[in-house]
């Protein structure tokens, strides 16, 4: 079954810097934006871009992630022969091991890709928030007759040294890849989104797998090797919102960004819908004491208190007299009466007793609340 482009979505990251949020959860499965999980943005990008054959590579704590993705129904990828396939590290008779790097993850699944005989491979990761039409990227790739095309975003010069920087000619042809350069020559940062001609990439993956000193990583090994061989590689300049939610602070910021009016990532965009599991919860209920301002609230929630500048997931209860500000409340959290919650992230199913005060305004990062935290309170 010939396919023009197969997507390979790297969703195996541990997301260590997200602390408690990823203790038992793969980073792409972390709840986001009142209704979604982080990976929904990438999967919806695929669906909206017409890329319907997607391998999702998982490894770290995949249970919730697998259950969330299921057979891919919300993204219209529940197909018998192509659609979405979860690719966990394969255990052969003599044992198996985790993917040792991003390139190794693709290498281990060459047989999966080969069955579709694609022209291109789109490599993306499941832990960024952005809305992008990958078809534009493919068209750019085709126009430039490129061997590989890397999506880049302009970052402030003073921050460029924190990123993988692509040094390009005027026509956007890449001549050098600088991982976290001390003295950046450019401010175009790689977004970790690649289009490769599959035949070309395939041979580089086979070569790389034999290098014992390789990290088997796209940025560190494959891209430099291709540049070294003089392959045609171009940057594709993406303009719009893009955020790596790598730390608790950036996770919190990215959520708060959704409350901004002029954000280019719009959940209300009918032309570019963000799909997720939708569980038929009833409409939300605001009673006579509810005060809600500048907030996002999902269905099934019951509000009897004050909610400002916050994001509430499905089936959250907020008791009378309680005030919540600048916080993110995960699904099925019950918050009692007369509580004060400031700059906090409350994790799924946590029950906050009456009269609790949680103040994250003085910490460097917003405070993350789980059951153990609540137990210590009482």
């Amino acid at each position: 079954m010939k396919k023009q482009c197969v997507g390979m979505l790297l969703a195996g990251g541990e997301g260590k810097r997200l602390g408690l949020l990823t203790k038992d959860l793969a980073k792409p499965a972390v709840p986001f934006g009142g209704k979604y999980r982080i990976i929904d943005f990438t999967l919806s990008n695929c669906s909206n871009s017409g890329i319907q054959t997607v391998g999702v590579l998982t490894q770290y704590s995949p249970l919730v992630l697998h259950k969330h993705i299921g057979i891919g129904k919300p993204w219209d990828m529940d197909r018998q022969f192509d659609g979405l396939t979860i690719l966990s590290p394969y255990t052969a008779k003599r044992g198996g091991s985790w993917y040792s790097g991003t390139a190794d993850a693709i290498y281990q699944n060459i047989h999966y890709i080969d069955q579709y005989d694609p022209d291109y491979i789109l490599v993306i990761s499941g832990d960024h928030i952005y809305q992008m039409n990958y078809d534009d990227l493919i068209q750019h790739h085709e126009e430039k007759q490129s061997d590989a095309t890397i999506s880049v975003i302009e970052v402030p010069w003073e921050e460029a040294s924190r990123f993988g920087i692509l040094n390009t000619k005027d026509n956007l042809e890449i001549y050098e890849f600088d991982e976290k350069p001390k003295e950046p020559k450019n401010n175009l940062a790689s977004m970790g989104i690649y289009i490769f001609n599959w035949k070309t990439l395939r041979s580089y993956l086979l070569d790389d797998a034999e290098q014992t000193d390789s990290d088997h990583d796209f940025g560190k090994d494959i891209i430099p090797a291709m540049l070294n061989d003089g392959k045609r590689m171009f940057a594709y300049r993406f303009e719009g919102y893009w955020k790596d939610v790598g730390t608790i602070q950036s996770y919190w910021e990215a959520n708060m960004d959704l409350l901004e009016e002029d954000l280019s990532v719009s959940l209300n965009n009918k032309e570019w819908r963000t799909y997720s599991q939708d569980v038929n919860y009833p409409p939300q209920f605001l009673d006579s004491r509810a005060v809600v301002e500048n907030s996002l609230i999902n269905s099934g929630s019951w509000i009897s208190g004050t909610v400002k500048n916050s994001i509430l997931f499905q089936c959250v209860e907020v008791g009378t007299g309680t005030t919540i500000n600048k916080s993110i409340i995960h699904p099925h959290v019950k918050i009692g009466k007369n509580c004060t919650i400031e700059r906090a992230i409350i994790m799924e199913n946590v029950v906050i007793p009456d009269n609790t005060v949680i103040d994250g305004t003085k910490e460097t990062e917003p405070v993350v609340i789980n059951d153990e935290y609540v137990e210590q309170l009482t």
């Binding site: 209704k35 959940l267 963000t274 939300q284 209920f285 301002e293 099934g300 509430l312």
Partner: protein, 368 residues
């Protein structure tokens, strides 16, 4: 097998919701912020683990077809079984059946193909969130031909008038269906019937040129049938008029009915529409209201039900109203006791006020 198949028979349901049923049948009328009336019946069937449901439609079934789609949102998109919307399209010149018997006659295949030995038949006007496991168990235990699901009416409401009442004997069997308004034991139009009995009564009705299966097939034969009843005790009501539609939407703004209907049992299934969470902006003032996802609120919403994707702009006031999906209420509009059908846009500064007994209804897609 001792399993159930489902039938939602809409043939004799008239278009009871005025402007709201100009373009859609009553079963497709929106209800409670994100549902259509049929969702309750359909969800109850799915909760009873029914895997094949036929819907006999009469007219205006297009929005019903749009709504249920492949049935996937009710887990009824099956290769075997599933959901069948059966519009009236028959062309057999030898067919002498009339009324809803035409549906039974022309869809006999549906009953024959199924392995189920019993059929759960329902309309769309009885609203509850339940399964019929206990009713079915009662039906099986008593070996009844037909088991009628009933409710005890604790107060008299206008929508109760057309509901038939159950007359029972000492043994607790149903011996008649009456119009006796003093009798508070009301039939819900939901019943379980042995498939073979159903098919036999269908043949009999057709042979005598009858046109109403419930009246002529069941009621007129009660003397010959072993008819039991199962009284449903949970929260429930009937929606069969614009007045009952308005009142029962509004009742859900009380916490108790809301929790009874939505949180006592599994959630009611409906079409998934991928709307984002509700956005409340700085100037929003929302109280005593139900809101469905996709709405964006800058204004005041009090004592109202907002369906999916409604926009209430700054300075607008929505009170005691039901606003259907994707309506846009521009700035400084004032609405009170109003029902807006979907896709209505009220331009800025206007005021519309109805009364509780006679809400002001605006038909869909109007721009006023």
């Amino acid at each position: 097998m001792n399993t159930l198949m489902g039938l939602i028979n809409l043939e004799h349901e008239h278009d009871f919701l005025e402007e709201l049923t100009y373009f859609r049948c009553g079963a497709a009328a929106p209800f409670a912020g994100r549902y259509r009336l049929i969702d309750f019946t359909l969800s109850n069937m799915v909760k009873t683990r029914i895997e094949e449901v036929a819907v006999f439609t009469n007219t205006k079934y297009r929005s019903l077809m749009d709504h249920v789609g492949t049935g996937a949102d009710w887990e009824l998109a099956r290769r075997h079984g599933g959901l069948f919307i059966l519009p009236p399209d028959w062309n057999d010149p030898t067919d002498i059946s009339r009324g809803d018997l035409r549906h039974f006659h022309n869809n006999r295949d549906y009953f024959h193909r199924s392995k189920a030995d019993h059929v759960l038949v329902s309309g769309s006007q009885f609203v509850a969130n339940t399964d019929f496991d206990e009713a079915f168990q009662h039906h099986l235990d008593t070996g009844a031909d037909v088991t009628l699901v009933s409710v005890q009416l604790d107060k008299s409401l206008p929508e109760h008038v057309p509901q038939l009442r159950l007359e029972t004997n000492e043994a607790g069997q149903v011996i008649n269906l009456t119009n006796d308004q003093e009798n508070k034991h009301a039939f819900t139009n939901v019943y379980i019937i042995k498939k073979e009995v159903l098919l036999r009564l269908v043949d009999q009705c057709i042979a005598f040129h009858k046109d109403h299966f419930l009246f002529h097939g069941i009621k007129e034969n009660l003397h010959d049938l072993h008819a039991e009843y199962y009284q449903y005790e949970g929260y429930s009501f009937f929606v069969n008029s614009i007045e009952s539609f308005f009142r029962h939407n509004m009742n859900l703004l009380d916490p108790d009915p809301y929790r009874e209907l939505f949180f006592k049992n599994e959630y009611v299934r409906t079409k998934i529409s991928n709307e984002p969470p509700v956005k409340y902006r700085e100037t929003a003032d929302v109280k005593d209201s139900l809101l469905a996802n996709g709405s964006v609120i800058d204004g005041d919403v009090h004592n109202s039900v907002l369906f999916r994707g409604v926009k209430v702009k700054k300075g607008a006031v929505v009170k005691n109203s039901i606003i259907l999906q994707r309506c846009i209420i521009e700035e400084d509009v004032h609405l009170e006791n109003v029902i807006l059908d979907k896709d209505v846009r009220i331009s800025s500064g206007q005021t519309f006020i109805g009364s509780k007994d006679k809400p002001f209804v605006v038909a869909k897609r109007k721009q006023i």
